[in-house]
Amino acid sequence: MFRRFSASSFRRQLTQVSAVGILVLALAISLVTSGVLARRLEALLLDYLVQLTEQLGTESVFAFLSRDRDVARTRVARIQAFPGVCQAALLEPNAGPLVGPSEAGARLLAGTPGAWRQRAALAGEDRACWHFAAPVRTHPLAISPLEARRTPELLGYIYIAWEKAPLFAVRAWLVAVSGVIALAMAALAIGWLQHYLRRLTDPLSDLAGVMQRMRGGEEDVRATVTGPVEIREIGRAFNELMARLERHRAALEAAVEIRTLELREARDAALTAARYKSEFMAAMTHEMRTPLQSIIGYTQTGQQELQFLENEADPVILGSLSRCLRIVLGASDELLSRINQVLDLAALEAGRREVTLERVDLSALLDQVVSVLKPLAERNHNRVEVVREGLPQVKIDRDKLRQIVRNLLDNACKFTHDGTVRLHVCAGNGVLAVEVTDSGIGIPADQLDLIFEPFRQVDMSDTRRYGGTGLGLAIARNVCRLLGGTLTVTSTLGQGSCFRVVIPLPVAL
């Protein structure tokens, strides 16, 4: 309840608190006023009843004087017919009954001595009635100066019980009327207060609405500066703040636009540079490969011609020439391989690689790759283990899978000496997983992401121990992505690395 009240609007809280206060105040004033009025009324009524009792006593003198029962009864009947009289009696001077209920005298005697023996007074009261009594004397009034002096004589007492019900009714009426008036006045006051609070808080609500619109994203909002001075100050401050914000935003947007233009230009320049680089690399490697192909071709031709001269020339010279040509051929193959790698990378970056799916016998492909890399493994005294599980064939781009496996095995054999390189291939359950694990030098944790960048190797010093272009892993990752797969690596420095390729099957084109 209190939480709901606390969460309500400022005007509602103010109205509710004020309304409750006004209602409580009005009811309190009503109760106090009616109480005071009722007491005053009761006092006036008692005074009036005292006078009335005295007057009725004076008028009853004849009944006492005559000692006539009929006259006395008639007198009592007349008194009892008086509005508000519930009981009346005429009492002897000893308070015994002359006419009327006998208990009246007993009731009065129970209260003796009382002021009623000297003058009209309230002799007692109960829940329903006031019991008044007054002495009845002869010649109660002032004697005229024309008459002889006479001594008043006590004839008896008059007893009258007056009902309290009329007072109770008037009291209830007073409470009801004052309550109604108080509620009506409270309603008027609350209505006026609500009207005034609305005038007072409407500017605040408008301000809150403006702020709400601003929070909702609306721009260029301004508060109406109206209402009490404090709220006008808030409105002015808000408008000023909004103006400042808009100026700042305009400046910021201008700066962002300028920076965006700069970044766009930089990006375009970078893209252009990359394109130029790829085009340059493609062009350069293409231009290099053409003479290299000639070198390889002529070197192979030279080897074939040396075979024809095997019987004619000096075997020592022939052996020397043949070894030289073999070296040239080997270097040319190596050079061609690197040029091809550069070409592949350039083609990949240029997005010009196409995927050709076909049924590939995994065992044959793996044997072929392992046989190609066998010399490198043997040179580093590594042992190559091949494990294949799952489906024997998968539908995939043969060249690209071979390129991936070859690059990973080449990388593992290159950075492993006197160790083990393990190739684990598993096909099935919608994926083709290739895992190459070595016991080589490992990769520092901070370089795990760098090794996939082109031309990056773990050892980038001037005296690199390991050869290669540094493109193998970059090409492998790009090819994996081309096939919709991923290439991840885990490694422990000094203990080895594990490269894992996961390609979803079938390959999505």
Partner: protein
């Protein structure tokens, strides 16, 4: 308020004339008349002013008239000094207070009592005029209005008004009326006697006479009952008090205050001339007549213009 001022002026004028007359008389004759009257409130103030005026009319300028107002508790020694200083031949005391005050001085100057309900029985050797109206005048008025009435009831205090009843019997007999007097030595008996009369009187032939004695006809206790019962039974009631007429009695003879004063002055002169020749308290014959028309109409009394002329005061219905 206007009436009060008027009466104040009249009292002041009377006192001024009395003082002037006194000063003149003092030079010619030392035998003046002192008048002691009460300093009271309306309506009694006007009554005493008129009586004083009557006294003055009758005595001045031949005799000096000295008046002395007395308050509620007059100083006896001061009054005695004043009387010694004035040395009046006769003292007229008006009302209860001055009469008692003068008697308290113990002076032997001849006294004439007025404006007090005295009777020869209560003051056997006093001279003056009491409140009791001459019953002959009352009965004559009754016969003027209702010749068919034959009996007149009256309740009286035998200790005070037996003399009055004796004279009333004679007056009634002279007018062929029968007086039915009932004694009431106290108020209780008076109430019982009135109750008896109101229950047994024959409205056709009887009438009730109320004496001007509040010890018998208590204006608060008894008079309202008499008025109510007589109204219900259409019983004729007449009185010697103007107050009774105002309350609902058919007619009354009430004091003509000026003439009352003149009569007191005449008695004073008589005493002055012969202090030994004292008279008893006289019946009041200086009276006016008052008629309550409302009661008259209720009693089916045909009040003609001629009858109305016989009355000094006719209360409208």
């Amino acid at each position: 308020m206007r009436t009060i001022r008027s009466w104040r002026r009249r009292v002041a004028l009377v006192l001024l004339v009395a003082a002037m007359a006194g000063s003149v008389a003092k030079g010619s004759s030392p035998r003046g008349v002192a008048v002691l009257y009460p300093e009271t409130t309306p309506p009694y103030r006007a009554v005493f002013a008129e009586i004083l005026s009557g006294i003055q009319q009758r005595l001045a300028p031949a005799h000096a008239v000295r008046s002395y107002p007395l308050g509620e508790s007059p100083e006896t020694a001061e009054l005695r000094r004043w009387l010694d200083q004035q040395a009046p031949a006769v003292v007229i005391t008006l009302g209860r207070g001055p009469t008692e005050a003068y008697e308290a001085t113990g002076r032997k100057t001849p006294q004439v009592i007025g404006a007090l309900d005295v009777s020869p029985q209560t003051r056997p050797f006093a001279t003056g005029v009491g409140l009791a109206v001459d019953p002959g005048l009352l009965f004559a008025t009754l016969q003027l209005l209702a010749p068919e009435k034959r009996r007149v009831w009256v309740v009286y205090n035998p200790d005070r008004d037996r003399w009055l009843v004796e004279r009333a019997k004679a007056a009634a007999a002279a007018l062929h009326l029968t007086l039915l007097p009932l004694e009431a030595p106290d108020l209780r008996t008076a109430a019982q006697q009135f109750l008896y009369i109101l229950r047994t009187a024959d409205p056709e032939t009887d009438a009730l006479w109320l004496v001007a004695d509040s010890g018998v006809v208590d204006p608060e206790a008894i008079l309202p009952v008499i008025i109510e019962q007589s109204w219900n039974r259409r019983l004729w009631v007449f009185s010697g008090s103007l107050l009774h007429v105002k309350h609902g009695v058919l007619f009354a003879l009430y004091p003509d205050n000026n003439r009352w004063g003149q009569r007191l002055a005449e008695l004073a002169l008589r005493v002055m001339d012969d202090p030994a020749a004292r008279t008893d308290i006289e019946l009041l014959r200086a009276v006016k007549r008052a008629l309550n028309l409302r009661v008259a109409f209720h009693l089916n009394l045909a009040v003609t213009t001629e009858i109305e002329r016989q009355f000094d005061l006719v209360l409208p219905p």
